[in-house]
Amino acid sequence: MKIRALVAATVLAAALSIPANAFAYLTWFEFTRQSNSSSPLTMAWQYGPGFYGTQTWRAGSGVSTDACWVGHGWLPTGYYDLKGHWDNYNGTIRGRVFYLQDKTCWNGTWRTQLFIHSEETADQGQYCPTAGDDPYCWDGPSDYYSNGCIKVSRAGNPSDLRLVHDGWHGKSGDYRHGYFTINNWLYVRG
């Protein structure tokens, strides 16, 4: 009897010691539009039938609440596929980025080249050469505003960007980088 209990305890201890990210859960994001500079971005994962976990961060999108305003309004509502993910993206947007599919808004205008990202350098650092707004430096809450992309904070340690990034890899078990597609990866509501 003691041996059985010992075996059970050992198995239980082993199971508990396995890090959570060893499991691959169905994982997705939801963005609930509330305001341009403060809207919840939630990562959700399903760890069993009917069982879900969530983690939420402050995020922003656009400058105005008209989703049909190219380069100015927040993201249109609906489901988005993920087009790719990079850790060291080096375009006008840099660092850790999630690339979203193009989307039409309610009057048919195409919103294109949209991302979830923050303000950091391609090597995930901060470049803050001026006292003003630097594009690869998280200067403060005004950086939540965007041309349309969803932005999360790069401030603090760990930053929200790191938590989003590491959370995605850890919960989904998906460590791919570059171009690939994940269906219905993001849902935008509100």
Binding site: S64, W69, G71, H72, Y80, Q101, W106, R111, L114, Y145
Partner: protein
């Protein structure tokens, strides 16, 4: 005595006459609208019967002169949004260039591409430019083309796609071309294809956007074929009536600068977040008449006053946010004095009600607007840009 009385009477009459003249002059300046422009809410009422501006809607062109004209295809700004006018009239007033969109397959904007079996590279639509003339003729300028601007001498600038089809997951790369006359040949002014949108002519220089990752907007100026230079990060509000200056908006939509187009040098600057009253943001695509600029703003509309070396926020006209949650777009002065403003208001879908658009005609002195009949948002009810024919600067 009689002479004396006559002289007194003459003096009295002159005095009264001068007083009446002064009163009439004052009334002429201020009295017609009651006051000088003041910041405050706009009072909007329904019942705009015949807008003083030409406009497009669906496959119709509407003018106050000739009523409705049938267009060769339905107008659409699907690929440009408010960055560039959906329809624009030539400087001689005879031609209207307009944007269209041919759907190659239906796309449900609430569902993802994968849910609709749309694969990477699938063709979704084709933008085209057409020209409509006074006689009712309607011709295709180019398939795979969008965003038009007429120069004073009749040249038509537009973006021409490398491939006509807009495809899922692909950047719609184009070249900026200029065509002498509707049937002329195209001369490329850009050297490398990219996601461009034509904004406006500024004299014989062409202003256009490069749309980058995350819809980052960069304003460029072309001095001629292949002679390109960046002018500003951000967008353009309006070109001055003399076509020498352009008001540009910073990427974060809070700072306005007036730049000399020829040199790119900054002439004046305004941070609207610290102006009186402060604004959260301005938006691109306004208009400029005399020394006034009108632009969409977080509150509704903002009117700026431009003078030598300075730029001031003269007036903020606020709209009820519950009635106009998306504000107004592409406001234009419709009179030479810069007191009358026409704009488009879009109302997003809500509670099962589809999105609609309507025209607003506003008097900024009286702070009143007349509102036209609503049209389904996907019919692209928009003013025709007539800045090339008026004393107004480019959009």
């Amino acid at each position: 005595m009689k002479r004396v009385f006559g002289a007194r009477a003459t003096v009295a009459a002159l005095t009264i006459g001068a007083g009446v003249a002064a009163a009439l002059a004052i009334f002429g300046v201020f009295g017609a609208h009651g006051a000088v422009p003041r910041t405050g809410p706009l009072s909007v009422r329904t019942g705009l019967k015949s807008p003083p501006v030409s406009f497009v809607r669906g496959d119709g062109l509407f003018t106050s002169k000739s009523g409705r004209s049938q267009l060769g295809a339905a107008v659409s700004g699907a690929i440009i949004g408010p960055l560039s006018p959906v329809a624009v009239r030539s400087s001689d007033g005879k031609l209207v260039a307009y944007n269209t969109w041919q759907k190659l397959r239906p796309v449900d904007d609430e569902r993802s591409f994968s849910e609709q079996a749309i694969r990477d590279g699938d063709a979704l639509g084709i933008p085209s430019l057409r020209v409509h003339d006074d006689a009712g003729n309607d011709v295709l300028v180019a398939r795979g083309a969008y965003s038009a601007a007429w120069s004073q001498d009749g040249a038509l600038a537009f973006a021409k796609g490398v491939y006509p089809e807009f495809r899922a997951g692909r950047t719609y790369n184009a070249q900026i071309v200029v065509r002498r006359g509707v049937h002329g040949h195209d001369v490329a002014w850009t050297t490398e294809p990219a996601h461009y949108v034509v904004y406006a002519w500024a004299g014989d220089r062409l202003l256009f956007y490069h749309v980058g990752l995350g819809e980052k907007l960069e304003l460029f100026v072309a001095d001629g074929p292949g002679k390109l230079r960046p002018l500003a990060d951000g967008s353009a509000i309006a070109v001055s009536p003399d076509a020498t200056r352009v008001a540009v908006l910073s990427e974060d939509a809070t700072n306005v600068r007036v730049l000399e187009v020829a040199s790119g040098s900054e002439l004046s600057w305004l941070d609207v977040t610290t102006a009186t009253p402060p604004l959260k943001w301005l938006a691109y695509s306004g208009s400029w008449v005399g020394d006034h600029i009108v632009a969409p703003a977080s509150a509704g509309l903002a009117v700026l006053h431009v003078s030598s070396g300075s730029l001031e926020l003269e007036q903020v006209l606020s709209l009820d946010q519950s009635e106009f949650p998306a504000g107004v777009q592409q406001p234009r002065f419709t009179d030479a004095a810069g007191n009358e403003i026409a704009a488009t208001a879009d109302i997003p879908p809500a509670n099962g009600r589809a999105g609609v658009s309507f025209l607003l005609q506003c008097d900024r002195i009286a702070r009143t607007c007349d509102r036209g009949a609503p049209a389904p948002a996907n019919e692209w009810l928009r003013q025709v840009d007539e800045s090339a024919t008026s004393g107004e600067g480019g959009h």
